[in-house]
């Protein structure tokens, strides 16, 4: 945290004091960093291969089967016993702990899919024979990344709009407020359903559509903060000094308005994740085949006889959202202006 500024330091201390929130954020960050390296945790390719004295890194690079003395020009399928034998004749393979990627189908199931948990598939497979644990890891990463990007972009837009409304006030403010009210009363879920019935949404298109409607969360808050800050004496003093408006906005007002805003961010992130999950659940979200928690939940509902599907997705979601809420609470406490006034008094 900003080492010099005593307010940041005080808030960091207040944050540390909420132990549950502090550990939740820590655990969440560990999980998130691990999931960022999902290719090294769950993959159908080995991390490293040594063959005839040469090192290969299939995670990063695609090698044709012929590299290892196979027959085909296509990418080597390392799970194929034939290829494995070729490599291990004169070398070795270093596998990730889970030998399935999110879209790897286990063709060697002895029971019909969805298969229950086993030594091979720790959380079983879904109804297409894909490893549930691998899909959870990739799905977690996708959900959090989607949520983060959506949160950051919608906050940037929301803060900018709120700041302009609050600083200038007057008709701009009134007009903006009415627009936000009308725009936010649009039924977003149905709009997305309608839109995705004529375009198949990908990651970015879905993000864009959601962004159209999610930037309004922070507008009211930031606007109110700026309305308040606008008449503070140090803002007046800066105006009298002839400081340019953008500088006043960024240097004097934004940092103080950000206190209330930062408090909300973990909850905005939560809401984004939930929205994506619910869209996936009803089948209007990410394109088919994407590793998604919502899709797994949907499978769980469609296959009630395979409780490991629904349970795994539920536990993952519950843990992720709880961690975020606990961390959010701690951040809110740390930034609570009343608490920090008490500390200052």
């Amino acid at each position: 945290m900003g080492s010099g500024n005593p307010i940041w330091r005080r808030q960091w201390r207040a944050f540390r004091r909420n132990r549950r929130g502090f550990w939740s954020l820590g655990l969440f960050l560990v999980l998130f960093v691990l999931s960022l390296g999902a290719e090294f945790v769950a993959n159908d390719k080995p991390v490293m291969v040594q063959h005839q004295g040469d090192l290969y890194f299939p995670v990063f690079k695609t090698y044709p089967e012929t590299t290892f003395g196979g027959l085909f020009e296509t990418e080597a399928n390392y799970r194929d016993p034939y290829v494995a034998e070729l490599i291990e004749d004169d070398g070795w393979m270093l596998w990730p702990p889970i030998r399935y990627s999110h879209d790897t189908i286990n063709y060697e199931l002895t029971v019909p899919a969805p298969a229950p948990p086993s030594a091979e598939n720790w959380l079983g497979t879904d109804d297409q024979g894909r490893d549930v644990l691998a899909r959870l890891i990739y799905g977690f990463r996708l959900s959090v990344l989607f949520g983060l990007i959506l949160t950051v972009t919608s906050s940037l837009i929301g803060i900018a709009v709120g700041a302009v409304q609050g600083y200038y006030g007057g008709w701009l403010d009134l007009g903006g407020q009415r627009f936000v009210e009308i725009w936010s009363s649009m039924p977003i879920l149905y709009l997305i359903i309608v839109i995705s019935s004529f375009v198949v949404p990908g990651f970015w298109t879905l993000l864009l559509i959601m962004l159209l409607f999610s930037w309004m969360t922070l507008v009211d808050l930031v606007r109110a903060e700026f309305l308040r800050c606008r008449n503070l004496e140090y803002v007046r003093a800066a105006q009298a000094m002839g400081v340019r408006t953008p500088v006043i906005l960024f240097r004097h007002m934004l940092p103080n308005a950000m206190v209330a805003t930062l408090t909300y961010l973990p909850f905005v992130l939560n809401a984004s994740v939930i929205l994506l999950t619910s869209l996936d659940f009803i089948g209007f979200g990410l394109p088919p085949g994407s590793p998604s928690l919502g899709e797994l939940l949907g499978q769980g509902k469609a296959n009630l006889h395979a409780p490991w599907l629904g349970l795994s997705a539920f536990v993952t979601l519950a843990v992720m959202l709880s961690l975020l809420v606990f961390a959010g609470e701690a951040i809110r406490d740390a930034f609570d202006p009343r608490k920090y006034n008490d500390a200052a008094a």
Partner: protein, 546 residues
């Protein structure tokens, strides 16, 4: 005076601390209040006055610890009482009046509910009985005892009326002791007096004991029987008011008495050229609408006002709150739209705007009242002060800026390492010095001072005034000095401008106006400020007679 068998309130060895019992905020304070008498607890901010009073009521802030040998009410030690019985004291045997009537009243409750709530809680009276008692109380605090008054909300009352409602609330359950914590500090001088006279009358009628907390020695001299002077959590001197104020024994009491603003501005050279000239300045706000579709009548906050200011001169602007003083400052600074002409250094500013105005801002700077709100809490002092250099002296590099900032901070009397520290580490007076430095860094000719000393203790006020005078002499600055405190204005201003309802009602040479005010309004202001002048041990001037 015949000593009573037991005191109404007696405190013995009261200590209050926050983190460390070894560093108490209130240190072994003993005092007593008798029925029918007023004990004034005086001291500067942070001396522990309010903590002392609030510990009687169990109203200490969270995290504060308290220890006392005894807190007796009518000879009965309340520390032995269960918490519930002690709680019943508040608003029961002990009534309280706070400083800020706007925040002490619940904005969503009507007057009837404000006053009646305590009666309902303590006496369990019925509705009709409460209403009758409320009307009765309104009459006692000299408010119109009408149904209409009972139905009003706090925002529909003036400051003085709100304070009267608070007094009525405090009296609702016939208390024996009244704790008045700076009861008039937030009020205009002319209203202060009427409130204090009311309190005195009520005291006589009801034989009330009053514990009056104040920083204002003038007020104490006039209204208190006994004085206890507090300094850094201890009572340093106590005794009858007249004795303490006339023959102070403790150094600190003498220091407090000497801190009344005194002195005069340095004389002005006759040929000083005109710096600022404002003609026909008017600022209009939207008034209340008439009906739903009616047009809002404009409300003139500043109404056709003209003033001139010469180089090196101080023009004092006085008036009660709402007279348009601060609006005038903002209009002169061109921070709000205003009609009329403003000429600075022969340059008409009213026709400039935006970028064209920016270079001219360097010549005219401002210092505001609130030492807490006037500095950005997230910027270091050095960063706050050098902002003007970044705007107006773009060619300077970081080292040159730092050097100028450091030199100026030193000139306004701040410690050498001030630039790296943050505003919250400084006291109110020091923050005001920082605000002055921030304004002076661009070497302005004119400094507009909007109540620069009003939030400060008397002794700190004197230091800031001295600093302002020194700076004026050294740099040939002109000041537009806005204040409601006539004593302060007199100590620094060459000329005086009295404002009321946005208009100038009187202006002229300061001493001239003080000696011979032409308007009744001016006379009232002066009387209110000077009637209670304390004769300090050194023999400072007596009140200006009528």
């Amino acid at each position: 005076m015949t000593p009573l068998p037991s005191h109404l309130l007696r405190m013995e060895d009261l200590s209050v601390w926050f983190d460390d019992p070894a560093r108490p905020a209130v240190d072994r304070v003993s005092l007593s209040v008798d029925a029918g008498r007023t004990l004034a607890l005086v001291g500067e901010s942070g001396s522990g006055k309010s903590l002392t009073a609030m510990s009687v009521l169990d109203l200490l802030p969270d995290g504060a610890g308290r220890r006392a040998a005894a807190i007796e009410l009518d000879g009965d030690n309340v520390l032995d009482w269960p918490a519930k019985r002690r709680r019943a004291l508040r608003g029961g045997r002990i009534g309280t009046i706070f400083q800020e009537p706007l925040t002490a009243l619940n904005p969503l409750h009507r007057v009837e509910r404000q006053i009646g709530e305590a009666m309902q809680l303590h006496q369990g009276l019925g509705r009709a009985a409460i209403r009758q008692r409320c009307l009765n109380l309104l009459e006692q605090v000299e408010l119109p005892a009408t149904e209409d008054m009972l139905k009003r909300y706090p925002h529909q009352l003036s400051g003085g009326q709100r304070q009267r409602v608070m007094i009525a609330m405090a009296l609702a359950n016939d208390p024996a002791l009244l704790i008045a914590d700076e009861p008039t500090t937030a009020l205009d001088v002319t209203i202060q007096e009427t409130i204090l006279d009311l309190l005195r009358r009520l005291q006589r009628e009801r034989n009330l004991g009053i514990l009056l907390i104040s920083h204002d020695l003038g007020l104490v001299a006039r209204y208190a029987d006994d004085v206890a002077v507090m300094h850094q959590g201890r009572i340093v001197e106590t005794g009858a008011t007249a004795r303490v104020l006339e023959q102070p024994e403790h150094d600190y009491t003498r220091h407090l008495l000497a801190a009344e603003p005194a002195g005069h501005p340095r004389p002005l050279t006759a040929e000083a050229p005109t710096l600022l000239d404002a003609q026909g300045l008017s600022v209009h706000f939207k008034g209340p609408r008439r009906g739903w579709f009616g047009r809002a009548a404009p409300l003139a906050a500043v109404d056709d006002l003209s003033l001139t200011l010469r180089r090196g001169e101080t023009l004092g602007v006085v008036g009660e709150s709402g007279s348009g003083k601060s609006t005038l400052a903002l209009a002169l600074l061109r921070l709000i739209p205003a009609a009329g002409t403003v000429t600075l250094l022969d340059q008409p500013l009213d026709r400039l705007s935006g970028a064209a105005l920016r270079p001219w801002r360097r010549h005219m700077q401002v210092v505001f009242q609130d030492p807490f709100g006037s500095l950005n809490p997230r910027l270091s002092v050095g960063r706050a002060v050098d902002e003007g250099l970044r705007v107006h002296h773009k060619t300077l590099d970081a080292a040159q800026r730092a050097e100028r900032t450091r030199a100026l901070l030193e000139e306004v009397g701040l410690p050498a390492d001030a630039a790296e520290r943050y505003p919250h580490e400084f006291s109110g007076g020091q923050r005001q010095r920082i605000a002055i430095a921030r304004a002076l860094i661009v070497e302005p000719e004119l400094l507009i001072l909007d109540e620069p000393t009003s939030a400060l203790d008397r002794s700190v006020q004197a230091q800031v005034l001295d600093l302002l005078k020194t700076l004026q002499a050294r740099h040939g600055l002109s000041y537009l000095f806005i204040s409601h405190d006539l004593k302060v204005v007199r100590a620094i201003s060459h000329r005086l401008l009295v404002m009321r309802h946005g208009q100038v009602v009187e202006h002229g040479d300061t001493e001239q106006v003080f000696r011979d005010p032409r308007q009744a309004y001016t006379r009232r202001l002066i009387d209110a400020a000077y009637n209670r002048t304390v004769t300090a041990g050194g023999g400072e001037k007596q009140a200006v007679a009528h």
